[in-house]
């Protein structure tokens, strides 16, 4: 079947499509720009105010600074004793996230692929854990840590972080693994691959997108976690960044420039990590495998 157009009709049709595409492009960019402005503006504004002094902030909080006071950052860094806290945060976050990624995918593998006694119970146990807020068990946890001699240690922070991260992480990875077609492993099983190999060589690499999701979520969460850090850590040499920031935010309770600088300083590592890996995160993060086989 073919429809014949004469030249004029063709031009009109072309014009119509061109107009339609232009209209779509216009809609596309204006919508995205509008949203981008909403996102960027508050962050940009923190940046602007982190370079001002109080007087400027009060007189016109929305104007650009007259002098760019980069010294606010130096002040925030030194007076906040951010250096060692920064290092502690890196250690705690990395160790926790690595453990979560590994341990959760192992458990998810078991829960999605293997048959065993008590499977349902264990799955629901983890599922229920997704809804329990950390603030509820603060005191029992501290008592436990005391009995294990883990108060004021980084492990005393890492273990609870991992435990509280597990439910959601297992849920995300498991639901992804469920979507991976079984034919993949069945072929491997026929080839006589052992279960551990099966996990390590096949299932784990295949479910990496969901592991990335979990890792990113937990990096963001643990990097910024405050309540556990407040109650479980007792000496300043062990403090993580949010804890140290809270201490020194007091000192700038009325100095908004350095306060804003501190807010940005704390966010910069996660922003940098994100920008470096953003391509990979965008292409790789996934929850709920949607296959189109």
């Amino acid at each position: 079947m073919s429809i014949c157009f004469n030249r004029k009709e063709k031009r009109q049709l072309n014009d119509y499509f061109l107009w339609k595409r232009k209209r779509n492009t216009f809609f596309h960019y204006s919508f995205l720009s509008f949203y981008a402005i909403i996102v960027i503006f508050p962050i940009f504004w923190v940046l602007v105010n982190s370079l001002k002094d109080n007087l400027e902030i009060f007189q016109n909080p929305w104007a650009l600074p007259n002098i760019y006071r980069w010294s606010n950052y130096i002040k925030a860094w030194y007076e906040g004793n951010i250096g060692s806290a920064f290092f502690n945060s890196v250690i705690v976050t990395i160790i926790s996230v690595v453990i979560v990624g590994l341990v959760a995918s192992m458990a998810a593998y078991s829960l999605s692929r293997l048959q065993f006694a008590g499977k349902k119970t264990i799955f629901y146990l983890f599922l229920g854990g997704m809804y329990v807020a950390p603030v509820t068990s603060l005191i029992p946890l501290l008592k436990l840590l005391r009995n294990l001699n883990l108060v004021n240690t980084h492990w005393g922070l890492i273990f609870p972080y991992v435990a509280f991260a597990l439910p959601l992480s297992i849920f995300i990875i498991r639901s992804y693994m469920l979507g991976i077609p079984k034919t993949v492993e069945e072929a491997a099983i026929v080839d006589g691959v052992a279960p551990f190999q099966l996990f390590w060589k096949i299932m784990f690499p295949l479910s990496l997108p969901s592991v990335y999701t979990v890792v990113i979520l937990q990096i963001v969460y643990i990097w910024n976690e405050f309540l556990f850090a407040l109650v479980f850590l007792r000496t300043s040499n062990k403090f993580t960044l949010p804890r140290a920031l809270q201490v020194f935010q007091g000192s700038f309770i009325t100095e908004f420039g350095p306060l804003n600088a501190a807010v940005l300083l704390a966010a910069i590592p996660t922003i940098i990590i994100y920008i470096i890996f953003s391509e990979r995160i965008r292409n790789g993060m996934a929850i709920g495998f949607s296959s189109n086989e």
Binding site: N54, I139, L142, K143, L145, S251, F252, I253, T254
Partner: protein, 427 residues
């Protein structure tokens, strides 16, 4: 052979114990709520350094937190049986509940040994059943701080506190209207912090019912009830203030700092606040012409206009659940803190009002603080803030109801009734 081995082992164990106990120092943990208070931190650092130089066997680990964080940290640590040795308390109801739970060391001997230096009046907030559980250090009182320039601009007469002048309620309302006409915010208040709202209510209840009205009502003395006139009338006055726009726009959502900002940058004429705010004031608005006035009187009020809202601000406490050695060392430290030399250091470095009766250096205080101290000395009665004085449950009901009252969601009568219902539960 076996015997020699045993003796040998025992000897080594003894030796090790001896060596360690000889070099072992007492480790104390000190928790404060002074995170970021630069001048206090300087004073604490210096004091600790000197103290440890004199007592080489005592080691300190100090942690400065923000108010809210200290409350969480302290409570959790106590419940888990690992409390700090010394901490900073606000006295009153919360300290009392800690005392009732057996968490606070009795330091009556230390307080008694100080004699006249610590006036009886400041001990009430940390004394329960006749025993002293804390060393009061600084105190505060609540005043209306005024921006004199804005008063002049709006043509409002400033009542002279040195001549015992106090506004009547009508004068206050008239002043508020004048400020509003000149586009000046009459009062700035941080309603997100409900205790700031409570200041107004407590003062009004005091002006209506007089000195003992609140404590008698809370203690369920015969004939006293929160449903009585002083409480209901106070609530009505509050809602009157809200209605005529005495507070800045959106004051219910404003935090402590948001509210303060309106005063610092000269938008608000009056700010009902505690003494501690003067330090920030001098830093943030060094050139502002600021004075204090008393809270206005009300028609047919029983309260003495010199009555003040105020109490000890900082109280140092020692934990009960620690070793004897630690306790002795901690007491030694508190004794050192209240020595004349250290107190003088405090006054010159920090400048907050101390509770001690000592010969302090002339002019160690800011002129505004000197005026506050004069007012405190002249006060007929000091009313401790309700949320500090009363048990935590009542305190929290009170604060929640302040938000209801100021937002107009509940009437003055309902708010009074809610207080009464909670007070009934206390007995």
């Amino acid at each position: 052979m076996k015997k020699t081995m045993l003796i040998f082992t025992l000897a080594i164990v003894t030796l090790i114990t001896l060596v360690f106990s000889a070099s072992a120092s007492v480790n104390l943990e000190w928790w404060t709520a002074d995170a970021g208070e630069q001048s206090i931190i300087t004073w604490m650092d210096n004091t600790l350094k000197q103290f440890m130089a004199e007592n080489s066997d005592i080691k300190f680990e100090r942690t400065d937190m923000q108010d809210e964080d200290l409350k969480i940290g302290l409570k959790s640590a106590m419940a888990a049986g690992i409390p700090p040795t010394i901490w900073m308390s606000w006295g009153g109801g919360i300290l009392k509940s800690y005392v009732e739970e057996g968490q606070v060391a009795d330091i009556t001997d230390l307080i008694k040994s100080k004699g006249e230096v610590i006036p009886q009046s400041v001990l009430s907030s940390s004394t329960f059943s006749g025993k002293h559980y804390g060393l009061p250090y600084t105190s505060w009182s609540g005043h209306i701080y005024i921006n004199k320039e804005l008063f002049r601009k709006a043509g409002v007469q400033i009542p002279d506190i040195t001549k015992n002048e106090t506004w009547t309620w009508e004068e206050l309302i008239a002043a508020i209207n004048k400020f509003k006409k000149h586009n000046i915010i009459p009062f700035t208040v941080g309603g997100k912090e409900k205790w700031e709202l409570s200041f107004y209510y407590m003062y009004l209840v005091d002006r209506y019912g007089g000195s003992d009205c609140f404590s008698n009502t809370l203690d369920r003395k015969k004939g006293y009830s929160f449903n009585n006139a002083p409480f209901v009338k106070a609530g009505k006055r509050i809602q009157e203030l809200v209605k005529i726009g005495a507070f800045q726009k959106g004051f219910l959502g404003a935090g402590y700092l948001d509210a303060q900002r309106y005063f610092f940058n000269g938008r608000a004429a009056m700010y009902l606040m505690g003494t501690w705010f003067v330090g920030d004031l001098r830093k943030q608005a060094p050139n502002m012409d600021v004075g204090i006035i008393r809270f206005p009187t009300v028609p047919d009020g029983k309260g003495n206009p010199t009555n003040l809202l105020g109490a000890p601000q900082t109280v140092f406490c020692i934990s009960e659940a620690i070793g004897t050695q630690e306790k002795i060392a901690a007491k030694k430290f508190l004794n050192y803190l209240s020595s004349e030399k250290v107190v003088k250091d405090f006054v010159t470095t920090v400048g907050d009002v101390v509770v001690f009766k000592m010969d302090l250096p002339e002019n160690c205080y800011d002129p505004l603080i000197r005026q506050v101290i004069k007012e405190m000395e002249d006060a007929n009665y000091m009313q401790m803030a309700w949320d500090q004085y009363s048990p935590p449950q009542f305190a929290s009901v009170h604060l929640d109801n302040m938000a209801y009252l100021f937002s107009g969601r509940k009437s003055a009568e309902e708010v009074a009734k809610n207080h009464e219902n909670e007070a009934v539960k206390l007995k």
